[in-house]
Point group: C2
Chain length 351, copies 2
């Protein structure tokens, strides 16, 4: 990695060295909401698309070109490193990940082998292609956190209540910790592959962790997420840590080791930052369900997010969760423009 | 209604007049987890079953017989009063409510007519039959709260993100408030029918309100839920107010007018009671996703819930959400026995 002469607003904000500029990107900015994405993905399965470096490069670049966001996020799927580690799975359109043999016993867990960067050649290659194309725009690498990965492996697919996952977690803690240790290794290796090839930040997605109480999170999940973040710490890239519905967990998530904590739309960013002791940059948190509202409403809410974010020692504008597939890209484009154009003024008015 | 000579532990706890007994019932205790339910429902649609007083009586009584819970909850569906008010809808197995013509405009809202108790004769009859059978076991009436009802009407069915509902709420506040006022009238009438026929407590379900921020809840939802609870206040029966994922809303929900606040599993009951200023009885909050864990784990968690509940001025044991369809009834039976047998001692040990 060669450091750029001028650091990007996104990276500066991650490091709490921002001026009044508000960097912006969107979780799932590359994806089904973009017609150019649907076009290049036609006839190609999700997992196949993730293994084609030129296609990954094109898809990752699409929202950067269209929106002028301050960061690209690597186009992949949290299940990709699990498949690379030898777990048989598919991503079924309209359903999500489907695991051929769900992981529910000590013997099942022992089948999960460690992952090496060498098993991810298409990731390394795609990141290198991307970094060359992106210029000064930083690429964010990402991975699923152990709990969220475990939830798919134990349930066998998406779940509403994570009943099998929670039952394993509370009834067989040794098996659970063995599982999550292995997933932490895989997650960290997936991130390492991206960072050593040139990604300049990472985001750890623990999307479904909001289904847990703080006590269960602390005992059964936090140590494994912290392990992933610590492993990646040696590369000195900013780390973002995100989950949905994490109001009860936010203080604990702050201790996991990331520089930036992602927040969903349920908590105003000033309140979130207060719970985090104003020690981390925050990322978020426009409610993606509001993207279909008339523009004046979206604009007003966008401004409110920027104003609340000024309370934190750094604010990266984002949605509170991923871009819904039905989103009109024109709305995201207007949001980026608003954040860039009005962000500094709104922040100064709050200060 | 003739008052019983000795008030039930459930009602006493609602009124903060309990001794150390811990009353217990389960949301959705009457339903698919019971083989005797699946037997009597065979071949009968959900909405049809709700309109047959003898069947409603049988289904409502089934869990009381089997578990010896401290309260019965009226077997019905939150959509029943909407159908009675003339809204064309069905409840489709495996899907949930499906609205023939979703409500999305001022003109749509104006089609919603007020409901009268006389339009619910099968409810009145079923409650009368039930009260005669139940003896001293109180019957809890219930209704959906305006936001949760509105979410089905606006989306046209179940939703993951409530995008259309939220868009209407924030972009057309007058239409939204008109809609919720009408739904509050319908909800209150559904409760009135149950209470005037003999139900001795009510629960207002705002199941999906946890998708909102506190600011949106306060401005757009709370006044309408409060209106329902206020209307029902004249009958002097305890009111329970429940939603899922309400950590950020709990303080506000306490102000809505209920005597009891239901809490999901994400917040320990002592913490929940503290947020409520220790002014209300609490109900909850064993994680239903744990019901499939081995009994020693379920027992330990049940005891922990009882211990945390001792911090509140009253605690009704329940799950943090409804009984999952796949639950083994034997587990619920053991929980009831544990709560009854060990509850008083656990409470005394905490005090």
């Amino acid at each position: 990695m060669s450091a750029p002469t001028v650091e990007s607003p996104f990276l500066a904000t991650c490091r709490q060295q921002s001026d009044d500029r508000v960097p912006v990107w969107f979780m799932r900015q590359a994806g089904r909401s973009l017609p150019e994405y649907r076009q290049v993905r036609a006839g190609i399965s999700m997992l196949d698309s993730c293994a084609r470096p030129e296609l990954v490069t094109e898809i990752t670049l699409q929202p950067v070109r269209r929106y002028g966001v301050d960061a690209a996020i690597f186009y992949s799927d949290i299940m990709v490193p699990l498949k690379a580690a030898g777990i048989e799975l598919d991503i079924v359109p309209g359903t999500g990940p489907v695991i051929a043999e769900p992981i529910r016993s000590a013997a099942d867990v022992q089948r999960i082998r460690p992952l090496t960067v060498e098993q991810l050649p298409y990731v390394t290659e795609a990141v290198r292609l991307l970094v060359a194309e992106l210029g000064e725009t930083p690429l964010i690498g990402f991975a699923g956190a152990p709990f969220t990965l475990a939830s798919y492996l134990v349930e066998g697919g998406p779940s509403k209540d994570y009943a099998k996952t929670k039952a394993l977690m509370v009834s067989e803690p040794e098996v659970w910790h063995d599982l999550c240790s292995r997933l932490a290794q895989i997650s960290a290796t997936f991130l390492t592959a991206q960072v050593t090839a040139g990604a300049r930040a990472v985001q750890l997605f623990d999307s479904w962790v909001g289904s847990l109480s703080a006590a269960d999170y602390r005992a059964s999940v936090l140590p494994h997420s912290a392990e992933v973040l610590e492993t990646i710490g040696q590369y000195r890239v900013p780390r973002i840590h995100f989950g949905v519905g994490t109001g009860e967990l936010l203080t604990l998530m702050g201790t996991a080791g990331a520089e930036v904590v992602g927040v969903d739309w349920r908590i105003p960013l000033d309140e979130a930052s207060a719970r985090l002791g104003h020690r981390y940059a925050v990322q978020g948190n426009l409610d993606p369900a509001l993207l279909g509202a008339p523009w004046p409403v979206v604009a007003e809410r966008t401004r409110a997010v920027i104003a609340a974010g000024a309370a934190a020692p750094g604010h990266i504008f984002n949605l509170g969760h991923g871009v819904p597939p039905g989103t009109d890209p024109a709305v995201l484009e207007r949001i980026v423009d608003l954040v860039h154009d009005e962000g500094p003024e709104i922040r100064r008015a709050v200060e």
